[in-house]
Amino acid sequence: MALSIEDIKKVAHLARIEVSESDAVATLTKLTGILSLIEQMQAVDTTGIEPMSHSQDLSQRLRDDIVTKTNLRDEFQKNAPLLGNGSTEQAVAGGLYLVPKVIE
């Protein structure tokens, strides 16, 4: 299945990765090569074969409904990125993370 530049842009948008026109062209070449490798699968008849998502066919364990994690919010917030757009402050305030305004 041939990929187009439009496909690359669409997938990049879904993956939330900005691609420039020139990046998109270079990416198209590489991804086309990888997809032709993947296409080898289509020669295999897999009718009736149960898909295998995992090597161990285990069900999820249950545990008691009690708090097991300690609150590390302050520790975690030390790793917050800088706010950007000229600010050298960390993108945190009052125990929350700061992002651009999303609701008008």
Binding site: E50, L58, N79
Partner: protein, 494 residues
């Protein structure tokens, strides 16, 4: 001292012939001397490291000793270690200081081992040459213009150049075994679920597995005793009784210690694509196994060739999901300039990820997107079952499977970096065991001449059935009792 086994080092420490501080300082000095060139380590912290060594000495003085107490271990930079820079080889996490410990770090700390530093790796463990690291490539200690393999390339170079007593790695498609082959040491990828993934930065969660990288099978067994075991914080950790991985090593003195062992040779691992000089080394190793009493059985793993296409659907699919967490909001890289939230996501991810990681995220997003899911993702999962069934059939005829770990010796830096498909073929002999969840290891089996006349290490791969690590380690150990390939070290690094 740098060539001593972990057991020997443990005995020297307990007899107080050396202190952990002296031993640790020896390796720190070697790192200072050789690492600027080899680039095996991303993060070093002498203060933290020596504090652990001092604590280990106090513990030894108090008589509270475990087998790895006081021994300096290099940790792949995929494992969170509290207070340590933990980057996963990516610009995305270049400033990330881990706020907690991975399970295996907790285990090593409890054993009294010393964390020597964080080792270089392909970005998010995606690569077979360590060339995708944001922190630069790693040199193969056997030939500085060649790659160490990947993704655990820093740990590999650190073990080969004796810049640590032993190291940890992770293996999603061959990232312990291929570098072990290219750098000439012993590496084990355990059964999926044997070692907890808690605190190990995720790439492809149904395939990722941590394991030891060390000079010998005995060293790997001692490392496994620390690393393996149930951890309820990893939902795929297997709840099995704790086992002693050294249990089979010391009880066979007879001339043919592997009498009756059935070794399967898959014909697909000896066909086109295998370097002829590598093939000769593997055949010589098999002959040595016959001398040890092993019986050779011809087997077939007919779907081996499909393992790479299947892997390059499933691993990128899982990666595209796992790596969606890097959004520039709570940690990791955030773009310096952006307009709105969408622009912040797009730019932060475009800047923070390298080219190979982006390629795999895009492939993964594509194969999971509407209209393609059945043709790619579901199809790959179906063939994954066929690949796993190949092994079920094979293990009806043999106890272990042997073959090459990698199709060639170490290749030159830059040689495959612009050709992802050629790079992916490096893992042709290792990927299928990850898909099946089986344990596999690579042990030094000799040296082969490269095209330009350089003698380079070759690894023999040993694949076992589920949970058969103790037997595999003994199969490797018996070979290491009658050969000395695993004791060789690169020239010029004494």
């Amino acid at each position: 001292m740098i060539n001593s086994s972990l057991k020997q080092l443990g005995e020297m420490l307990q007899a107080k012939k050396i202190s952990s501080v002296e031993l640790t300082q020896t390796f720190l000095d070697r790192i200072q001397q050789y690492n600027p060139n080899i680039n095996a380590y991303i993060a070093l912290d002498e203060g933290k490291t020596l504090a652990q060594a001092k604590a280990a000495d106090a513990r030894i003085a108090a008589g509270n000793v475990a087998p790895l107490t006081g021994i300096p271990i290099a940790q792949k930079d995929i494992f969170c270690a509290k207070g340590w820079q933990t980057t996963c080889g990516s610009k995305m996490l270049a400033n990330f200081i881990a706020p907690y410990d991975a399970h295996i770090i907790t285990q090593f700390d409890a054993a009294g081992a010393v964390n020597l530093g964080k080792t270089n790796m392909d970005e998010f463990a995606m690569g077979s040459s360590n060339e995708t690291s944001y922190f630069g490539g790693v040199k193969n200690p056997w030939s500085f213009d060649r790659v160490p393999g990947g993704s655990s390339g820093g740990s590999a170079a650190a073990v080969a150049a004796r810049l640590c007593a032993a190291a940890t790695g992770t293996d999603t498609g061959g990232s312990i075994r291929q570098p072990a082959s290219l750098c000439g040491f012993t590496g084990l990828k355990p059964t999926y679920g044997a070692v907890s993934r808690f605190g190990m930065i995720a790439f492809a969660s149904s395939l990722d597995q941590a394991g030891p990288m060390a000079k010998s099978a005995e060293d790997c067994a001692l490392m496994m005793n620390v690393m393996a075991g149930f951890d309820e914080r990893d939902s795929t950790s297997l709840n099995r009784e704790k086992e002693d991985y050294t249990r089979d090593l010391y009880n066979s003195n007879q001339a043919k210690p592997l009498q009756g062992l059935k070794v399967g040779l898959p014909k697909e691992y000896f066909s086109e694509g295998l370097d002829a000089n590598v093939g000769n080394v593997i055949e010589a190793a098999i002959a040595e196994y016959k001398n040890l009493g092993a019986e050779i059985v011809d087997i077939s793993l007919p779907n081996t060739g499909l393992s790479i296409p299947v892997y390059y659907v499933l691993a990128p699919a899982e990666a595209s999901s796992n790596l969606s967490r890097y959004d520039g909001v709570r940690y990791g890289h955030r773009a310096a300039e952006y307009t709105d939230l969408m622009d912040m996501y797009n730019k932060s991810r475009a800047e923070g990820f390298g080219a190979e990681v982006k390629r795999r995220i895009l492939i993964g997003t594509y194969v999971l997107s509407a209209g393609y899911y059945d043709a790619y993702y579901l199809k790959a999962q179906q063939i994954r079952r066929l690949i796993a069934q190949d092994f079920v059939e094979a293990f009806k005829k043999c106890d272990v499977i042997m073959g090459p770990a990698a199709p060639s010796t170490a290749f030159k830096a830059g040689e495959k970096v612009d050709d992802p498909v050629a790079m992916y073929l490096q893992d042709i002999y290792t990927i299928s065991t990850n898909l099946a969840g089986l344990p596999g290891m690579s042990i030094p089996a000799g040296f082969a001449q490269s095209d330009d006349g350089v003698s380079l290490p070759v690894g023999l791969q040993i694949i076992g059935n589920y949970f058969d690590e103790a037997r595999m380690l003994n199969v490797a150990h018996q070979y290491q009792q009658v050969t000395d390939w695993h004791t060789r070290m690169p020239a010029g690094l004494e």
